[in-house]
Symmetry: D2
């Protein structure tokens, strides 16, 4: 319940996908997270770092090491990470050794630019969890706060489930 | 971090306001909370009770007693309450004696039916906080998880601030 | 079907209503028309004049004279006017004597700032009609291009109907 | 300016694209046109025929013949066709011989399911043009009513331009 500042790290994923007519395809572009936080009228102190712009299927070991180093090296002890959903748990495993920080990962099944997206709700869950939960790695998707090491994505069902 | 079901109680407030052309004014209508949870693809077990449809300035002592009785009498130990922002803290004070439950109140500064509203994010925060925080009464507004007994609304600034 | 520039005059009305929490009411604010045209990727030459910011029930004879003078004095022969729906036809009657210009009036039953509003469609109709119709005063509401002197608003039904 | 009913034929295109997380890609799905018309509170008589669900780059000669036959055989003399933008003008050329009907084609550069899309405006333009223009084939894109045989898409610039 602290007013301690929150570090928001964006890494890409569906949440930041935009559609490009000239290409007839989507691409991950500049993050929409700042706009989501403005629309939500967030007055809580926070800092956004756009670290990567990748589909999570394309994240490398080096990328995950960079994310971990950014979390570990940041002055903030409360961290929210937006991330593609397909390998979110893989990155969580790499973050697990980090002690003393509450890290919450989230993403979206529908791009935030859609009229009907789960992005704002999921990001809100991450902000709520981040300030309330014990240190550790959490994932806020599908309406649930999951232990990030005990969850998996059910790709067919389009949701995260405890395992 | 339990998968324990969440009780969502709606009481009205700006979050559920709709515009009526024939009246040239806003009115609180059937709650949009169910739609927000569907858009957020919430798979977590929850139950919605539409208890009241009032601007929070019009809530009576009887209304607050009803809200408290509903929370206290519910089988769920995790509760989210959507509420008008102007007297949210008054209702929180009435709920304070309830022991052993994590109750999170939220609302919105812009109706959820607006294209740019803080509703989905605030409701997401409440879901995240509700599953992570210790028993007590919390308010998730303006991006912060507040102790509901130590916060007030700054009407001019349009945000909640710790006091 | 000319590429002749379009003059867009905004006068207020529901289409431009915004909700203000601090007042617990809506007010007509800076017009959202420019944003609607940008979202619609309008490349056609146009010019926006924010002439009035009034609920159409509050428009005076002087206001209508001002609107008529603005239309008559403009270099553009194709004009779109956004206007509150309650007295749109009264203003149309004042504009009727203007010869040689295609003037299309429209508004919205739901504020453009709502996620589900008729604003963008109605404005699109006005742009389409304005470039296709003969000189005269037209109203594009409820999906129909009406002769502005042969239509009335059915307030109960929430739509415009030919009379 | 008739109240004559409008036939709306949907053929697919970007306007009806939806994002599928399980596939990490967009696909054209059930048309959103009915929802757009409902949101626009269209009271004008219309009928929607979902004829095809294709990216316009995949339309065959047989598809275009089917579209032309549907237009020619319909009882309605006012027709709106939603269509992918890349080959809209090719289909227009096939429709050109149809006499005595006002046919308006439109589409979108951003899927209608996005919060910020040109879909509703373009569809509104088509409805407005369809009721106002002389018989012939028109395209309503980029804010302009174009003669469908004298326009091309500038893919790089993301807009339609007269030629």
């Amino acid at each position: 319940m602290t007013q301690a500042p929150i570090l928001v790290i964006t890494t890409g994923g569906t949440i930041d996908k935009q559609y490009f007519d000239a290409l007839s395809e989507y691409q991950i572009v500049e993050s929409v997270i700042g706009k989501l936080l403005a629309t939500a009228r967030v007055a809580h102190p926070f800092r956004v770092v756009e670290l990567l712009r990748k589909d999570s299927l394309e994240l490398t070991d080096e990328d995950r090491a960079l994310i971990a180093a950014t979390v570990a090296g940041a002055p903030e002890s409360h961290v929210v990470i937006t991330h593609g959903t397909d390998t979110m748990t893989d990155t969580a495993a790499v973050l697990a050794p980090i002690a003393g920080k509450t890290v919450v990962m989230c993403g979206a099944m529908q791009p935030a630019r859609f009229a009907e997206s789960d992005a704002a709700f999921n990001l809100g869950m991450a902000f709520g969890c981040c300030q309330s939960a014990a240190p550790g790695i959490w994932i806020t998707m599908s309406g649930t706060v999951f232990d990030a090491l005990k969850v998996c994505k059910d790709r067919e069902a389009g949701k995260f489930v405890a395992r």
